[in-house]
Symmetry: C2
Subunit: 150 residues, 2 copies
């Protein structure tokens, strides 16, 4: 997603602008954490970000990384991958189905989508490896949460 040094500094630039616009202070820690997130394009864990940042800021603490990432997420600067809550969830429904996830109450509902099931994955991923299954996750707010939110 980052093609060149030019794009990298462009991203850092717009990051700083976004912080200013949102009233977030620009600290060394935040800059290094955002850089680390840009550098590790393959969805790093908090710990991977921490290790990366530590190379430049030796005194940074892991909880700062947690807090900063939470802030970035809150302000829409980054997203969490496949996040529901911190607990594993299970599925006895082994038939081909997909999930609706309410981002407010975390409830998961199954749905079916035969038109999607019959689609072939795009050619661009042909070299990736051996595909097992493909699933759709639709994120949003369920009607009961939608009501409560008014």
């Amino acid at each position: 997603m980052i093609d060149s040094k030019t794009e990298f500094s462009f991203m850092m630039d717009s990051f700083e602008k976004a912080c200013k616009a949102k009233g977030l202070r620009i600290t060394h820690q935040r800059i290094e954490i955002f850089k680390a997130l840009l550098k590790h394009t393959n969805h790093p864990t908090t710990d991977e970000v921490f290790s990366q940042v530590r190379k430049h800021l030796r005194t940074i603490s892991l909880d700062t990384v947690y807090r900063t990432i939470a802030t970035f997420e809150e302000y829409g600067l980054i997203k969490r991958v496949h996040h529901i809550d911190n607990a594993s969830r299970f599925d006895v429904n082994l038939s081909e189905h997909h999930h609706l996830v309410c981002s407010r109450c975390n409830k998961i509902e199954d749905f079916y989508w035969p038109d999607f099931d019959s689609m072939k994955p795009p050619k661009s991923i042909a070299g990736w490896g051996k595909i097992g299954f493909k699933r759709v996750v639709i994120d949003g707010m369920c009607s009961s949460c939608n009501e409560k939110n008014k």
Copy 2:
């Protein structure tokens, strides 16, 4: 996914048969845990399963639920929802994209799929609520793990 009592006992029946076929002992605990998974169709957490099972088996311990669920998963009787590993992962790529996940090394790769992006969700979910975004997760084994696995 369970429509009636008939289907419920059918599922329990095939569960017991699957256990026998795979050499898994049929214990009270396993039966109750599987029942709980069938009953809570909305993807319960381990703790929810534990609470449910405890109503019938007061001495069951949480670690038995963990171990049993892991066994069921290992034997293909259930699946884990959205599982990568136990750590959160993050994404600076805010453009519409999808994920390839290697089930062996847990690495995540981005890919793009405009044909999917332009699809409308199926009509069947119209009443669910307000849709935020839709994402595809493709699960499989990346080529480098595929090599190592030979």
